[in-house]
Symmetry: D3
Subunit: 62 residues, 6 copies
Amino acid sequence: MPIVEIHMLQGRDLKAKQELVQRVTDAVCVSLGVQREQVRIIIREMKDEDYAAGGVLWSERT
Amino acid sequence: MPIVEIHMLQGRDLKAKQELVQRVTDAVCVSLGVQREQVRIIIREMKDEDYAAGGVLWSERT
Amino acid sequence: MPIVEIHMLQGRDLKAKQELVQRVTDAVCVSLGVQREQVRIIIREMKDEDYAAGGVLWSERT
Amino acid sequence: MPIVEIHMLQGRDLKAKQELVQRVTDAVCVSLGVQREQVRIIIREMKDEDYAAGGVLWSERT
Amino acid sequence: MPIVEIHMLQGRDLKAKQELVQRVTDAVCVSLGVQREQVRIIIREMKDEDYAAGGVLWSERT
Amino acid sequence: MPIVEIHMLQGRDLKAKQELVQRVTDAVCVSLGVQREQVRIIIREMKDEDYAAGGVLWSERT
């Protein structure tokens, strides 16, 4: 604890993911006063045909 | 806000997904009185070996 | 299956929630061709101090 | 109801998944006094580049 | 890892919750061959006005 | 998009929550190159009787 789930569109490379989990872990530790090893992060990638805003699939936006 | 997650078995085509997000967005807007652009929808597809009812994987039902 | 989670700010009354689940169930059934009894919906309410957009808690927007 | 989501690293075979959902369903039924058919289980697999502990992606641990 | 989320209607007492997490942890360890300390469980309770099946809120079933 | 869910034990005050969402939003923007307004954060608080590690509820640890 804490456990962080990050829902995002797929397509980022490994380097971006490593930077993401590092920076988010720092942010959580500083704000909540917890130890790094306590922080778990799950990255939930989505295809752009599986995300919609305003009733339109991201893959179908013109 | 609101954010809707729809967990469903994989296999639907793009047309069915577009109709789904359109109709669900309509339903949310009418019921909650929010604007279309406020509504986000995430479709969470599952393989039938990753869903179980009554202790049996969907892929193993006879 | 399908299972729908609706994340929304707290404050809606019972009537609005009933209309919401009814309309969303209709939308899912028509789009995916499933039976009403198959559709499960979970409403996840949040306090406005537990939701943020653009780095600002909803409760702190001026 | 209840609905169980199991977040785990990918790589288990079908036999392990079937045993998992069977045993977890048993555990839920005995503890909560519900019927087997009421219990739904979703397995959420993750690549080891999508899970981090202590700010390090599982795929990058040395 | 693994992380288990159990979505269930509210109303169970502490004893039932302790038995639930103990039995589910056992089930996960035996099936997946992981250590007890690796298993995290989150119990997500819901009011019966926040869960619906077949388009009807659990609190409104007659 | 992205949408971040932070599962954590309840008990933090408003100031800590505001710092948390601000710092996590910064971390996501820098790592993924998205705009602040695109980032949504949901804080999921839990009672310590609803979280378990190693088969023991957090409220029951001695």
